[in-house]
């Protein structure tokens, strides 16, 4: 019995190995293998979380990329029409899974990488991309450490120092706040980074802050909200993932928190709208894109979402256009521009030209500076309408 088992196990292993060899072919062989009849293929890797704390956001960002891919499934390199194949890898919102997920994209032969939602995983995977010589375009990872000091990581979104300043300006200008409560999540680079930048900017404007942070998996925010209330803070700033956001909104409604809740781009999600609907809360977020900014895109995307139940559930159950989806959509086209500019599917060639690519997408004009960051000087401020369950546009806000 034991022996039979051992033999079966060994056979399975060999089989698995062999089949993987076939399934994950080397970059050169990839094109011919996956696409019959001589069709040429260029592969774009999508490095996004599909599970874990940032799973919801990652899925929405991926939807934008998927939509773009379905709209434009081919790219012309020189005279040849190439099919664009999108390869997905789930980084699980976790730094320890990021390098292997990144490696799986590289071994699948991707020519360029898009992602990730969440800065921590992008930083963790950065060296893996670097070693293989592939370029990556960060879609919504706003932490400065992602692109800093390397030549392969680019991004099309604004940065934390910018966003932090915008939010601080909003707090002290719009709400005349002099004391802010900052709630960040331990071990989340996005959260602590944005919190830090907000604090810097807010204190520079003459305000004071009360800072606290919560552990991963924390479900009870009442204690934190109580502190904010009893310290008489004028505004609460909570740059967190949407998972925590739901709970924060729910519980601040229960606790009767009257002051505005401020947050960054992660909160620009229908998860927040659903949580806030019918509750007595004031929520303000800064974001990359305002629904209605580009009617063609909005309508097309909505139709596409509504046409498929999986898409609909990945988008959180309705057809609200999340800013990250728009960003993902743009990122895909930036990647195509880079492939065209490079004139080949070779990852090194693409990496070399990526810095000089410009593109005008639905979220505005995209151009990279020398660190590889997008040059952007405005953010959109939105507020959650608790009656209609939609975002209301407040204004565009710059640093000044």
């Amino acid at each position: 019995m034991k022996k039979i088992l051992a033999i079966v196990l060994a056979a399975l292993m060999v089989f698995a190995l062999a089949s993987c060899g076939a399934e994950n072919p080397t970059p050169d062989a990839g094109g011919k293998d996956a696409a019959p009849a001589g069709e040429k293929v260029v592969k774009i890797g999508v490095f996004e979380p599909a599970s874990g704390d940032n799973g919801a956001g990652g899925k929405q960002e991926t939807l934008g990329i998927q939509y773009a891919n379905e709209k434009t499934p081919t790219v012309k390199i020189g005279d040849d029409e190439y099919k664009v194949e999108v390869i997905y890898a789930d980084n699980g919102s976790s730094n320890d899974k990021a390098p292997t997920a990144a490696q799986s994209l590289i071994s699948a032969g991707c020519s360029i990488i898009l992602g990730s939602y969440g800065s921590g995983v992008s930083i963790a995977a950065s060296d893996t991309f670097k070693d293989s010589g592939v370029a990556a375009i960060g879609v919504t990872c706003t932490n400065p450490q992602v692109t800093e000091g390397n030549s392969h990581y680019f991004r099309i979104c604004f940065l934390d120092p910018f966003q932090g300043t915008v939010l601080a300006n909003l707090a002290s200008g719009e709400f005349k706040a002099s004391k802010a409560y900052i709630l960040t999540k331990l071990g989340d680079d996005y959260s602590t980074g944005l919190g830090y930048n907000f604090k810097q900017a807010f204190e520079a404007l003459g305000g004071t802050v009360v800072e606290e942070s919560f552990q991963e998996g924390n479900a009870d925010f009442t204690a934190f909200l109580n502190t904010a209330k009893s310290q008489e803070c004028d505004v609460i700033f909570a740059p967190t993932s949407t998972e925590a956001a739901q709970l924060i909104i729910e519980q601040s409604a229960t606790q009767g928190i009257a002051v505005p809740l401020l947050a960054g781009d992660t909160w620009d999600s229908n998860v927040i709208l659903n949580a806030a609907k019918g509750k007595d809360v004031k929520i303000y977020v800064t974001t990359f894109y305002q629904e209605g900014g580009n009617a063609d895109f909005d309508n097309g995307f909505k139709d596409w979402i509504n046409a498929d139940a999986t898409h609909l559930s990945n988008n959180g159950g309705d057809d609200t256009v999340a800013a990250v989806s728009a960003m993902g959509y743009d990122a895909y086209y930036v990647a195509l521009e880079a492939i065209k500019a490079a004139g080949s599917a070779d990852k090194a060639a693409i990496k070399n030209v990526l810095g000089s690519v410009t593109y005008t997408g639905v979220t505005g004009e995209i151009k990279f500076d020398e660190t590889g960051d997008a040059i952007r000087d405005t953010a959109y401020v939105k507020t959650a309408n608790t009656e209609t369950g939609a975002w209301d546009f407040v204004r565009e806000q710059g640093v000044n």
Binding site: G217, N218, Q246, E250, T254
Partner: protein
């Protein structure tokens, strides 16, 4: 001064009592299973989480049924919640019994370490299955609008406004525990349970159907975990696949703290842990209100709100390994 201090502390204590009650309901499952099988049922926290998911999914699928029957959206929702509560209780209990039968019963004569590993494996399986089913996302618990209408109403205690469930939880917990203590002390099956927990083998020789007793134990444990889950998630309205892990561990620590095998001990331990944990989260605030911390200085106590539970565990194990109400067992040479 003291008035202000009191009003600063009160909300922390209130939510501490509430969460303590929910821990207590989970802790009972741990303490009873450990008392009888000498097994840390690592999957218990996950059963609690699954109960939350069942509520969500059953509510989503039942509401349309009632709507089709011609009820208004509002009342369909309320009926559906009531039906879902029943479904949650039944399915959770079934899950608990199935786990016992499939993963623990075959290992009854195996070394303790094997059973514990099996428990860890079950926990791993449940979490991964939950990730698969939910897609790894947090699912909102049906508390919005008219749902859970009475439990999630706002009420005001002192100067703080809280959900009604916060007050209901400790009362319901204590009532359930009293019922359970009566069951253990007065009924035949309770007597059998006490016998089995004292001496497994002898009880079997005395004609007690040990497997039945164990099933009953899992039944009670899972049932209370389901009730705890209803209360907990009404308060913290979202369920993730790992939602059960931390409350589970904390409830286990509560059981150890109170003296494993002792139901009242587990309840007392759970309340102590719940309250301490919440006070710790607000301690920076309390101390600066009291004037101990000045000039905006903070210590960052909140970082240790989870770790505190384990510090407490290590201290109690070193000082009084039998817990507050536990009995001493000596090994025979």
């Amino acid at each position: 001064m003291f008035g202000k201090l009191f009003s600063t502390c009160l909300p922390y204590i209130l939510s501490g009592i509430s969460v303590g009650g929910q821990y207590a309901l989970i802790a009972i499952g741990y303490t009873m299973v450990y008392g009888i099988l000498r097994l840390i049922n690592f999957a218990h926290g996950d059963i609690f989480m699954v109960a939350g998911l069942i509520m969500i999914y059953s509510n989503v699928s039942i509401t349309p049924l009632f709507m089709n029957m011609g009820f208004s959206a509002e009342s369909a929702f309320i009926f559906s919640i009531i039906a879902s509560v029943v479904i949650v209780l039944v399915l959770t209990v079934l899950l608990g019994l199935t786990i016992e039968k499939a993963a623990y019963r075959p290992l009854r004569s195996a070394p303790r370490m094997s059973v514990m590993i099996s428990a860890i494996g079950v926990s791993y399986l449940i979490q991964n299955a939950a990730i698969y089913i939910t897609g790894g996302l947090a699912k909102p618990y049906p508390t919005k609008g008219a749902a859970m209408p009475w439990l999630s109403d706002q009420i005001t205690v002192g100067s703080t406004s809280i959900k009604r469930v916060t007050v209901i939880t400790p009362i319901l917990t204590i009532l359930l525990v009293l019922a359970l203590v009566l069951l253990i002390k007065k009924t035949k099956i309770g007597m059998a349970m006490r016998a089995v927990s004292k001496d497994f083998r002898t009880s079997r020789l005395m004609g007690i159907e040990v497997n039945n007793v164990i099933s009953v134990t899992f039944f009670i444990g899972s049932f209370l975990a389901a009730v705890g889950s209803l209360l907990y998630f009404t308060n913290y309205a979202s369920v993730t696949p790992t939602s059960g892990a931390m409350p589970g561990l904390k409830a286990f620590v509560a059981a150890v703290f109170g003296g494993i095998g002792s139901v009242p001990g587990a309840v007392v331990g759970a309340f102590i842990i719940g309250i301490c944990e919440n006070i710790l989260k607000g301690l920076d605030n309390i101390l600066s209100t009291a004037g101990v911390f000045k000039d905006g200085f903070t210590f960052g106590f909140a970082t240790f709100s989870d770790a505190f539970t384990f510090i407490l565990l290590i201290v109690i194990l070193c000082v009084k390994p039998t817990g507050l109400f536990g009995e001493k067992n000596t090994d025979k040479v």
